[in-house]
Assembly symmetry: C2
Homo-oligomer: 307 residues x 2
Amino acid sequence: MSLLSIGTVAFDTIETPFGKAERVIGGSCSYIALAASYFTPKVNIVAVVGDDFPEEKIQVMNQHGINTEGLQIKEGEKSFFWAGKYHMDLNSRDTLTTELNVLADFDPIIPESYQDCAYLMLGNLTPQVQQTVINRLKKRPKLILMDTMNFWMEVAMDDLKATIKMVDVLSINDEEARQLSGEHSIVKAAKVIMEMGPKFLIIKKGEHGALLFHKGEVFFAPALPLEDVFDPTGAGDSFAGGFIGYLAKTNDISFESMKRAVIYGSAMASFCVEKFGPEALMNLTQAKIENRVQEFIDLVQFEIVLD
Amino acid sequence: MSLLSIGTVAFDTIETPFGKAERVIGGSCSYIALAASYFTPKVNIVAVVGDDFPEEKIQVMNQHGINTEGLQIKEGEKSFFWAGKYHMDLNSRDTLTTELNVLADFDPIIPESYQDCAYLMLGNLTPQVQQTVINRLKKRPKLILMDTMNFWMEVAMDDLKATIKMVDVLSINDEEARQLSGEHSIVKAAKVIMEMGPKFLIIKKGEHGALLFHKGEVFFAPALPLEDVFDPTGAGDSFAGGFIGYLAKTNDISFESMKRAVIYGSAMASFCVEKFGPEALMNLTQAKIENRVQEFIDLVQFEIVLD
């Protein structure tokens, strides 16, 4: 089924203890679309860049089957730019620069050819823009997945809650779940957040895996213990792209299917962090992805027969 | 098979954001023995207390089938005492008081009736004392599991490494694994530590679960997401007690069996943290333990059929 992803397409300059990458392709929509492209051939994006964004980077997306008809290119303006530096443990980072540029007044225009999308991925952006996209679709998609971050909880909580109310699946990290709910216990936080609207909730714990909540049920997927992690940038978005890409491919949104989607999402995130920026998402194959998923299966497999 | 556990038997005063418990039974050996007692009827302990340790607390252990013949009671001396206060997130704590008392010159005497033990659990103690216990056993046990902590890495690294070399399984937390190995990556740390001697390595990640390493293989067990965690004290020891208790019960030390043992250990730890001190380990039943293990099975179960 076709997938529409919105979010940012940007330049990132990333510094980690292991090196530095200057002005690589970044932004939530880039990672989501690249990760999802391995699952479904119909990935449409809505985003905005300036005329400084190189044509060949757009062609790379197109080569991955990503439809960039909805990618606005603003003449005489500059693309969103983010620079950050990770600390030694890679779990925390300092933002060095944030230049909104074209993002400041982004008006998400949906091409007519996108109107039939069954799966909608709202990558991290202003909640107001996320909501506008939902409102501009003539038919509600079968499934809406929303990603967001703590920043919007601080500056736009009302907009954020109004948008959360409209989606089926919300994806946030553990600290954001605590902030959004006011509960320290992740289990209690999940209950509070699901009362805000979403029927499914994904709580990402970075190197500690991810939890999927639905009604009284909970599923846990570990992160793969990796020998080397070079750059965590985009891991959450790669997860989301793999997750919704798998759902769009199978067109099965049962809880059992979502559990599998969490594993595929975790696999895509595990590739992402092994190289700088989105580089690791550029040259994957189905065989590599299946081998990685097999590693997840082996990692948690045990057999206990209870009386 | 019979199990011998050494470690501390002590008084703890514990303060968490949810309350305070004064002078409850504490110490690594207490938690290990109580947790293991649900798996094997032959739990022997070697430890030391002062004459301030109440007879009825020893009887509680005996009622759980724990053989206290090797528990030395030092007349005119005081038991080991620890007081600590947990921070809001329960992941970190301040030690308020440590009174070694009888522990300062603990000489671990092994009763003759313990000499046939097949499973040896070295609870957290001076590495030198742990090593003395191994040396005083006439026959090497089938399996030796050692738990330790960062403190010994700071004050007795040589002794620690010499003891680690003698054991089959080492159990430490993620920060300790990094400190012991000098490697930040847990996967690299595990390789370095297994080269020090142990064929199996357990890396505990608290609320984020535990990893079991063996040769090139790795198994991950999640922690159960709990609505309320009251007191993390003794969680690692309860884990170790459940782990080695399960192995002693089944007398199967294959990697597959150890994976199951990690799940049973995680189940015992999940009970432990739900109440203050070792209270939750006092009144468990086989049915409660099996229900808890079923929760772990449900938590990680998914089905993916790869081509």
